[in-house]
Amino acid sequence: MWELLDSWLIAPFDYGFMRRAVVAGLALSLAAPTLGVFLVLRGMSLIGDAMAHAILPGVALGFLLAGFSLPVMSISGIIFGVFVALLAGAVSKMGGQREDAAMASFFIISLAAGVMLISLGGSSVDLTHVLFGSILAINSTALLLIASISTLIVIILAVIFRALVVECLDPLFLRGQGRRNQWIHSIFLGLLVLNLTAGFQTLGTLMAVGLMMLPATSARFWSKRLEGLIGIAIVLAMLASTGGLLLSFHFDLPSGPSIILLAGTGYLLSALFGRYHSLAARLRRKTTPIETQSLT
């Protein structure tokens, strides 16, 4: 029994690339789901997806300039992501168009431009790497960058946590006191772009959103408290990234999709069997006599 467990769970990490991959996955699992929880609470679940598209042309430009260099691609991705977000905001203010409409337009242009740039300068293998990641190919420099970005995100989130909570719950409460909540929103979007640039090496620009959103949406089925949501989302993300890696190792599957599909399985199971708002919870509510129901 022990040998079986060892060969399935421990032995794969004898390989250096698996050790680096699991540390990168765990580092991302600390920052990404926390941001995801706030995205869900702010009703901005689709913004992460849009931002992932926005950083692509920057990543592609970095790739054209310096080849597959994570620091260069990350920095140009951050710059382009912030640029597109600001541009979308400016267009919506200028033309009276809603910001989400402007963002949707810009982000789809960004996706097309990014794919075009990578195709012009590289091969279809490069394109696949950027879009869907290659967590098993992470080197020590990339690992250091991912861990540093994740640490920075967690620290900044801890600092602005209370302001973020109050702004999410009741923006008028802050505005009523003459406080500008715009800076909180801007920092939050900045953290989002940072996280996506850390994630694209491991999961790709398109898949990085998965580790952010799926654990966060799953956690809503298990807790009604903010601390609970964040804690559960982090644990689910860690399980998905480690489990996904092991699955990809044993069954020779692509690593990024394995991680995200495992997180997706977690979401479906939560929707079916979760403690709150799930199918099972609805069935329980129908059959529980009134006097035995607890309101707390």
Partner: protein, 244 residues
């Protein structure tokens, strides 16, 4: 009624517009500290516009709002729907957020903060709901929790938009003396009201918005005629004109 402290919120010949359409013109007057002013008017009369201007959300076309109360001591409770009820937060946590503006974003709460929060919840009769999520509260319980946050904030200016809409009679009977006590403690309260009964129980003064103008009067004057027969606009000097 006599007021011990001078007014800390004065309107000077305000002209307010929404989407380039004039809503209110020549609005002047003082909201007295230690008094509850009922803000009344038909839908679209400009109540929300005036509140926005007082809170600094809307810049006047001309005139000015002079407010001597620091921003962190101002509180605005809009109608309940503005609050995200799905947010995973308990009653106690909501009340505690009231201390954030003055306490700062970075420091944690100390025992004294929690003690004060518990005292406030006891005063509002919601101690037993301390750990209940906001989404599971009734309209009245939620309104009490929001007033609790205002008490925690030690607000000196409180704007309430229809605080008794969709709340139970028990909540009304708890909140009326608390709001009265807040006023007696020197706070400036502006309350949007539609119900004459609530107005009579609560208001010291009335600001009626009608036809783009503002008219100050006593509750008794409003109640006796249900509306002023020939209302005179507020004139300079900071006091209502009297029976029209």
């Amino acid at each position: 009624m006599s007021y011990k402290t001078p007014s800390r919120l004065i309107l000077h010949d305000l002209h307010l517009a929404q989407a380039r359409r004039s809503v209110l013109e020549h609005v002047s007057g003082e909201f007295k500290a230690g008094a509850i002013t009922a803000l009344i008017g038909a839908n679209g009369a400009g109540k929300s516009t005036l509140i926005q201007a007082i809170m600094g959300e809307l810049s006047p076309i001309s005139g000015e709002v002079v407010c001597a109360i620091p921003p962190e001591r101002r509180a605005w409770l809009p109608q309940q729907l503005a609050l995200d009820l799905t947010f995973p937060m308990s009653v106690e946590e909501l009340v505690m957020t009231g201390s954030w503006p003055s306490h700062g974003a970075l420091k944690g709460y100390c025992a004294a903060h929690y003690r004060k929060g518990r005292d406030i919840m006891a005063r509002l009769g919601i101690s037993h709901l301390a750990h209940r999520p906001l989404g599971e509260l009734s309209g009245g319980q939620r309104q009490r929790a929001l007033i609790g946050r205002t008490l925690m904030q030690e607000a000196e200016l409180l704007l309430l938009d229809e605080p008794f809409a969709n709340v139970d009679s028990e909540t009304v009977s708890v909140l009326v003396p608390i709001l009265r006590q807040m006023a007696d403690d020197g706070m400036t309260l502006i309350v949007v009201l539609h119900d004459m009964d609530h107005l009579q129980r609560l208001a010291d003064e009335v600001l009626l918005l009608e036809g783009g103008r503002a008219y100050w009067m006593l509750p008794s004057e409003l109640v006796s005629a249900h509306r002023p027969v020939n209302p005179l606009p507020f004139t300079s000097g900071g006091h209502y004109v009297g029976t029209a």
